[in-house]
């Protein structure tokens, strides 16, 4: 299991240590312009660590194994660096995968899309294959952070980070994702349903890292609904629903229903999917789903929202998302029939 905080020393040491060997550190510039000579650079936020810019997946796997549980992979750094700056994470070595060739691709293999470990959010958001074959993922990307963060952050990094209020872990679960994990012991495939163990916790072994993630593409007549509520655009969600369905003979088929922000991990809700499967979306059905959700969800109360409010949001967002999915499936079926 990998836990994404407190790697060596546990949490709570967010302050700087005055004993740090390099507390009063001066960078020594070589061949720097005279105007830019290094001066005393003072304190640094992160605790010391070694750094390796791996140039191949096997080099990264070997370094991770050699680190014996004290190594951390860095991809976009958009979640890891804040924790390193707070000293919530103090790895002995950071293994940078950004320079490994070939991991920055989105490829279609049969009915699946494979997203490499250094594919940035910006690429996923603008990729033509994603837009055509998984429009719900295209929509979801607009809710992930901000332009500047999307320039660096990665799809796979977000899944590995396993924030319970993040979009990509939920989408990976919704799209029956398979996570390819590499270590010196070899590669293994982990089903998304086995991957998310808890808040910021995954079933990766300490010596494993992710090289790519495969997800379902959707038949072109699939309708989708994606509804998220957050306080400000780009903030993490208080609650979010993602659902897809097709209409066959006037009723919903292949129903998928996922949520996040309302538990310790992203959720797939088979009980809700079963209620909708084989039915036409109606006011009564939406009411039934709302009631069922109340019993199924056990959200937290925190500084952002109470558990009751989150349960209320869940019902509202579910109704909107299902209506959208039904409407889009109708439009797409009509377009396909015409």
């Amino acid at each position: 299991m990998q836990v994404n905080f407190g790697v060596r020393h546990g949490i709570g040491e967010a302050g700087r240590s005055r004993d740090d060997k390099a507390f009063r550190y001066a960078a020594r510039g070589r061949a720097m312009p005279a105007s830019a000579l290094a001066t005393d650079v003072g304190e640094m936020k992160p605790a010391p660590f070694d750094y390796l810019a791996a140039t191949s997946a096997s080099e990264a796997a070997e370094a991770l194994a050699a680190a014996n549980g004290d190594g951390k992979i860095i991809a976009g750094g958009q979640s890891l660096m804040p924790m390193i700056n707070f000293r919530l994470v103090k790895p002995a070595i950071l293994i940078d995968i950004n320079r490994i060739a070939g991991l920055d691709r989105i490829e279609k293999h049969g009915e699946r899309l494979r997203i490499g470990a250094t594919v940035r959010h910006r690429m996923t958001a603008t990729d033509a294959l994603v837009h055509r074959h998984i429009p719900i993922l295209h929509d979801a990307m607009h809710h992930v952070a901000h332009l500047t963060v999307r320039n660096r952050g990665t799809f796979c990094g977000s899944v590995c980070h396993a924030d319970p209020a993040a979009e990509m872990p939920m989408m990976t679960l919704l799209l029956n994702g398979t996570i390819a994990a590499l270590s010196i012991r070899g590669e293994r495939q982990i089903a998304a349903s086995d991957f998310f163990v808890g808040s910021l916790m995954t079933s990766l072994e300490p010596d494993e890292f992710v090289t790519s993630i495969e997800i379902d593409t959707l038949p072109l007549d699939t309708g989708w609904g994606f509804e998220e509520f957050s306080r400000r655009h780009g903030d993490f969600a208080l609650a979010c629903v993602a659902t897809t369905l097709r209409i066959v003979d006037g009723v919903a088929r292949d129903v998928r229903f996922g949520m996040m922000g309302v538990g310790e991990t992203p959720l797939r809700l088979p009980e809700i999917e079963a209620r909708i499967e084989g039915q036409a979306i109606s006011q009564a059905l939406l009411q039934d789903v709302t009631e069922a959700l109340k019993g199924l969800l056990h959200p937290n109360t925190d500084i952002h929202a109470s558990a009751d409010y989150r349960r209320h949001l869940a019902g509202t967002l579910a109704r909107r998302a299902l209506r959208d999915a039904w409407r889009r499936a109708t439009l797409r079926k009509d377009a396909a029939d015409a």
Binding site: R30, M81, N151
Partner: protein, 161 residues
């Protein structure tokens, strides 16, 4: 004890710098303390405020969420590359005209993010402009004047080809 130092070479506003640094040195600290380029500001140092935004190979990036050593071989642009007090850059000039700054703390980050936006994003509607600006926080202006400046710049640029 870890922290083996690493030598890096990085281009900042077209000037190549070579330096030997601890791996844990943030790019923001490298720019400010090692190179003396204090135009790049740091507010939160955990990715939330956008004050530290620079361009990394032409795209905006939070310099507080990057290590200096990760910039090896990259081209960094900072606000110092935009213009000077005597010769303001185009975005700086638009900010001045539209009163898009008060204390100015957030301004370098906004200007670098806007540089990326103008190169790569449609910015045809106010909604698009506001969404694009949403990663940068300003405590003074209430954003209205910043949106006005970007609207003018986007109009001047015309549609993206």
């Amino acid at each position: 004890m870890p922290e083996k130092k690493i030598t890096l070479s990085v281009s900042v506003n077209g000037v190549v710098h070579t330096a030997t640094v601890e791996p844990r040195m943030l790019l923001s600290d490298f720019l400010r303390h090692a190179l003396g380029l204090t135009g790049t500001h740091v507010g939160c140092e955990h990715g939330v405020c956008g004050a530290c935004t620079v361009l990394l190979d032409g795209r905006s990036a939070r310099s507080c969420l990057m290590l200096a050593v990760q910039a090896e071989g990259a081209e960094i642009e900072t606000v110092e590359g935009q213009g000077s007090v005597d010769r303001l850059g185009r975005i700086q000039e638009a900010f001045r005209q539209h009163h898009a700054l008060q204390c100015g703390f957030c301004t370098p980050g906004f200007i670098m993010a806007i540089t990326d936006m103008l190169r790569h994003h449609p910015l045809e509607t106010d909604d698009q402009i506001r969404e694009a600006l949403s990663g940068n926080i300003c405590r003074c202006t209430g954003y209205e004047h910043i949106v006005n400046a970007v609207r003018e710049l986007a109009k001047e640029r015309g549609p993206l080809t």
